[in-house]
């Protein structure tokens, strides 16, 4: 059985990720919504969110983030964490790994291509990283005995 803290923290992180990525997506599509973020020095949200790198294959990164959190949210529900299905467990780990790889790419792009950091994007990165940690630690703690012996 998963530790209780995992079943509480993981859905909360998903909720936070959903909220921030929804805000970024709205700001992307609605010019009237301006991100609450400084625009001086290295912290410059507009420079990041309006850059050519803010879309991948024409899809805004903000929207990709939102879709990511929508997709992984069911995997982090308490019921999903209680599930002993290997498929659910592996899907959760794979999604966490995919998320963190994307975060590393985006951090690299911000630092070395755009020379600017977006506070809200950084918040999403931090949430994704924490979710990655919770997923791995939670999975390690809950792996069924049978699988431990058999594998």
């Amino acid at each position: 059985m998963t530790a209780r803290w995992v079943r509480v923290v993981a859905p909360l992180l998903c909720l936070a990720g959903l909220g921030v990525s929804l805000y970024l997506t709205i700001a992307h599509y609605n010019a009237k919504v301006i991100l609450a973020c400084p625009a001086t020095g290295i912290v410059n949200c507009a420079k990041v969110t309006e850059s050519p790198q803010s879309a991948i294959l024409g899809v805004p990164v903000a929207l990709l983030g939102l879709l990511y959190f929508v997709a992984i949210a069911p995997l982090h529900l308490p019921a999903a964490w209680r599930s002993e299905s290997a498929l659910v467990r592996r899907a959760r780990v794979a999604a966490a790994a995919a998320g963190i790889l994307m975060v590393l790419y985006l951090i690299y792009t911000e630092l070395f291509t755009l020379d600017a950091l977006c506070l809200w994007c950084t918040a999403v990165h931090a949430i994704t990283f924490l979710l990655f940690v919770v997923t791995l630690v939670g999975t390690m703690q809950t792996e069924p005995e049978a699988e431990l012996v058999d594998n």
Binding site: G41, K47, L104, F112, D115, V133, T139, M140, E145, V149
Partner: protein, 331 residues
């Protein structure tokens, strides 16, 4: 074994005789079965022990993998930040924009008049072009207006911005000046300067409207209003420019429609490899590269004085500036 340490039961007192235990026949099959059961039990215990050891080993491996993966991510992120922190932007493709050192801004916006006077004309006369067609004075809010069109990638714009900042600072105040560096792919490359994009210029004598149309990587930045686009395309062209000159040359500076400066007024290579602080120091001393920078600032100051009807007097009554003013060609 517990049995081996157990004491024999005490004999009954007064019994006076030893009782011989009754002989029980040994069944070899039972003995063999007991031995087999013991063996099986031992084997099962060994198997349980091995399974437990395997489970613990796997748990240990999984722990290593989990914390290793988390650690790896932390190391990669820390590495990216560390590389960025020590990264020299000299040959990067970043924006080249960064906060300006207030001490450097203070130096270039307040070059001592004694130094400027000593430099004088610097031994040259910039190519002040007279706008063709005698256009009406360029004004904004009743003040003579200076239009600047440039780009952050452009090394000649970077070169020209230094004396422009120095000269315009004698008539007003800049707010929001930030460091900018010209493109790493142009020649000369990586000229350190300021950006006029987003600056605020306040003056009682002049209006200054700068546009940096592209950033360091040639991506669009400031957009000119339609009227200024027309002005730019008309005056940054023949016959205002000499025949053979490229139209649309930047930097383009229109001083109240009385003069046009197209291109840098001194050598851009003078600034190559110099830091902002080095350039500002040279300007403050009026020597080395500072000589031509300050002289250009003096010439621009003289043109501005002409546009403002010699206001303010504190600047325009300077004999050196007044002398330069008389040497600038007029319509």
């Amino acid at each position: 074994m517990a049995e081996s340490t157990r004491k024999p039961p005490p004999r009954k007192a007064g019994s006076g005789q030893h009782r011989k235990p009754a002989a029980t026949p040994i069944d070899p099959e039972k003995v063999a079965a007991a031995k087999a059961a013991k063996r099986a039990e031992a084997e099962a215990a060994a198997a349980r022990k091995a399974a437990e050891a395997a489970r613990l080993a796997r748990k240990k491996r999984q722990r290593k993998l989990t914390y290793g993966a988390i650690g790896l991510v932390i190391v990669v992120i820390a590495g990216l930040i560390a590389v960025k922190a020590v990264h020299k932007p000299a040959s990067d493709t970043g924006s080249g924009i960064q906060d300006a050192d207030p001490a450097v801004v203070a130096q270039i916006t307040a070059i001592p008049v004694s130094v400027l006077d000593k430099v004088g004309d610097g031994g040259f006369l910039p190519d002040f072009r007279l706008p063709s067609g005698n256009p009406p004075p360029l004004v904004n809010g009743g003040l003579p207006r200076v239009l600047y069109v440039g780009g952050l990638f452009c090394p000649f714009c970077a070169t020209q911005r230094w004396p422009m900042v120095a000269a315009l600072s004698r008539f007003g105040t800049f707010k929001g000046l930030r460091y900018a560096r010209s493109s790493a792919n142009d020649t000369p490359k990586d000229i350190n300067s300021f950006s006029f994009s987003g600056v605020t210029y306040t003056s009682s004598y002049l209006s200054f409207t700068p546009y940096e149309t592209s950033d360091r990587n040639h991506k669009p930045l400031d957009t000119l209003p339609a009227a200024d686009t027309t002005l730019f395309s008309t005056l940054d062209n023949q016959p205002t420019l000499p025949s053979g000159a490229t139209s649309g040359t930047i930097p383009f500076v229109d001083i109240a429609n009385r003069w046009v400066l197209a291109g840098a007024s001194y050598n851009a290579t003078d600034l190559q490899g110099k830091t902002w602080a080095e350039i500002a120091s040279a300007a403050t001393s009026g020597t080395g590269l500072g000589l031509h920078l300050d002289a250009t600032a003096n010439w621009i100051t003289a043109a501005l004085c002409s546009a403002t009807a010699n206001k303010p007097a504190s600047v325009c009554s300077d004999p050196v500036i007044a002398g330069l003013e008389t040497r600038i060609p007029v319509q």
